[in-house]
Symmetry: C2
Subunit: 394 residues, 2 copies
């Protein structure tokens, strides 16, 4: 361990925040304390468990009410939400899509599902999200505009879209990014998988991209078992998203006609029922998670060599996964901290392996990724469940 960094102080800081006498504290576990059972029982009692049923519609309505987006389409998971968002944004085979290398693999996989090519972008320190200033400089060198298309000078491919991922729930600075997308004719898609309950300048994330994706996987701030939602403020895009997620079947009482290669991505009613109950509790989850983050922040504030990742000034974050950032990149120190914390039952993890390092994405176009490469050796996620705040007071 480096001289600047005292692992015992870090453990002590975590112990001061986390519940005592627990054998294992998960990274993030769901909390079911509301109407989950009542709503699910209603599904089973009425026989409406599958893709038709009122909970899906109710869930979509509640999602629009909470996020302020005009339209919501509930789907089987966040990956499916991103996949359809890209298709509806016009991403086609052989296009390039810009996305951060510092993200979960699903962001790039969704691009691949479209037959398109991921093009990796560097991140910045404040939010761990993509670095707009660096991207602007990069596009100035590699992109040229041709009619309504942005062309990669070196590959000849169209760069159709940019995916902004809100890392651990912290919104990227969207205004300059939107300006850049407009200038370069790029469709902005928000990968808000981790960011339900996060706001950029008082507006919920997912309202800035033409299409946005949120996840309700079991490790997210709220869950539907497996699930996701597509958000958009444009009616034709919402209609197309719904159409494509329901096998692109044309409405008719009995005939089966389909006008696109569609997908079987609709969220089942059973899962939507859980989602309705979870959404009712979301304000409480957010409060608890933000309070937990406050405690972490205070607790780590006196420790040299590390910084607790705080929301940027322009945003209110859901603090989905709390993160400790080492001042200096040091893989050995990071790994030692991961080992020590996991050994004593505090589940921690590093950020994802940078996508451009994976053999499956190694050959994709990429800008200089030196900041992400440093951040990779600096980040450790901390236990972040909403119930951790409450438990301390038990």
């Amino acid at each position: 361990m480096s001289q600047q960094l005292d692992s015992s102080k870090i453990i002590a800081a975590m112990q001061s925040v986390l519940p005592k006498n627990e054998l294992l504290i998960p990274l993030h576990e769901p909390v079911f304390g509301g109407n989950e059972w009542a709503y699910v029982k209603d599904c089973l009692d009425t026989g409406w468990v599958s893709s038709k049923g009122r909970y899906v519609e109710w869930f979509e309505n509640q999602m629009t009410a909470f996020t302020g987006a005009k339209y919501a389409v509930a789907v089987v998971n966040g990956t499916a939400a991103l996949h359809i968002s890209l298709i509806v944004s016009g991403v086609a085979a052989n296009d390039e899509v810009l996305l951060p290398t510092l993200t979960f693999v699903a962001t790039a996989n969704a691009v691949r599902y479209c037959g398109a090519v991921p093009h990796f972008i560097d991140s910045e320190e404040q939010t761990l999200g993509l670095d707009t200033a660096k991207l602007e400089d990069y596009l100035g060198r590699v992109a040229r505009l041709e009619a309504d298309d942005c062309i990669n000078k070196y590959t000849g491919r169209r760069i159709k879209a940019l995916i902004a991922m809100h890392t651990f729930g912290h919104p990227v600075d969207l205004d300059p990014l939107l300006e850049l997308c407009k200038r370069y004719k790029l469709e902005l898609v928000e990968d808000a998988a981790e960011a339900l309950g996060s706001f950029y300048k008082s507006r919920h994330v997912g309202n800035f991209g033409r299409m946005s994706a949120i996840s309700f996987n079991g490790n997210k701030i709220m869950t539907t078992g497996g699930g996701g939602v597509i958000l958009t403020n444009e009616a034709p895009l919402a209609q197309m998203a719904k159409h494509l997620t329901t096998t692109a079947k044309l409405p008719h009482p009995w005939e089966y006609n389909h006008d696109y290669v569609g997908y079987n991505y609709r969220m089942p009613n059973l899962n939507a029922a859980v989602g309705c109950a979870q959404l009712e509790q979301l304000p409480g989850f957010l409060q608890a998670k933000r309070a937990l983050a406050d405690r972490y922040k205070q607790s780590f504030s006196q420790i040299n060599g590390v910084t607790f990742l705080s929301e940027p000034g322009y945003a209110q974050s859901n603090y989905w996964l709390n993160a400790l950032v080492l001042d200096k990149p040091d893989r050995a120190v990071r790994d030692l901290l991961l080992k020590i914390t996991n050994d004593i039952g505090f589940m921690t993890r590093p950020c994802w392996t940078l996508l451009h390092r994976l053999p499956i994405y190694h050959d994709c176009p990429a800008m200089d990724l030196s900041m992400a490469e440093k951040l990779e050796d600096r980040i450790m996620n901390l236990p972040s469940s909403a119930n951790l705040y409450v438990k301390e007071h038990d």
Copy 2:
């Protein structure tokens, strides 16, 4: 209405089978009469609703026990099961995959998801499944073998696989088909989406293709809300299927490395819990549905111009959707019957629009499809829920 066919007799025959005094009799609705509540509540109480949890494993074990397949991988739906089955069978971009034109659109969509090209095959009358004899003749003319590959002489593409779909639960004659696949080096994939509980020569379907897919959509013989399962008898294929359905993440306590472009297709534990309860009731569902089919068969046996679709002699069918087949193709008669029955609250439907007729698949290679084109104007599905048999005795 044609002189040979008396619609009032058909209605009377349906009325003699179906429950009285119901405003609407659905085509197929699920029955929840077992441990669904208990198992789902257990999921919610333990917090294990997502992709980890014991119900998924239990469900997979129960599926292998019921079907006799060595391995089962639970996924989000039947389309996902088919998609992964094709990938694991080695289907790659620009390959051709043989499949019947008379099937649900998902069969062809799954081929497209692989970047491969659907190649449409005709059906035969007895099972409505693909016509092996006609296919044999066709392959003799259009295919040539080159080392281990079957090549389409006319397109130059490799024909990698053949999908056999068991229409409405009636197994196609698999022995001659397997022989043909072996001769032409084609991987057989069974689309058994509709055929849980159907047996070919005493062995459950899904054991004959190297990979097979079953669906648990809300309209199937049993449901998980949304769900499906991949079956195989080969350990390496099962491992690959599980790996690809779980984002192809390499095992590690905290690191995120992925060695394939994977998918987020794992069935959530919540849905598997419902599946476990449904599977316990499956023998009862099968008994009820077969008894209902018997009644239909008797009831229609005296009516000229129509035949009730019965299981082939070599098979035991689940009778997922009962089907009435007009002796002569007549779109007007079929549509009139659909209208009359739906108008009085008996939900009926035609078979799917033949896939080669859809603009999205119109340009795909196809053999002569004259039998399927005739069958399209002859088929009407009848209400088939397991609870219809019981209700009559209320």
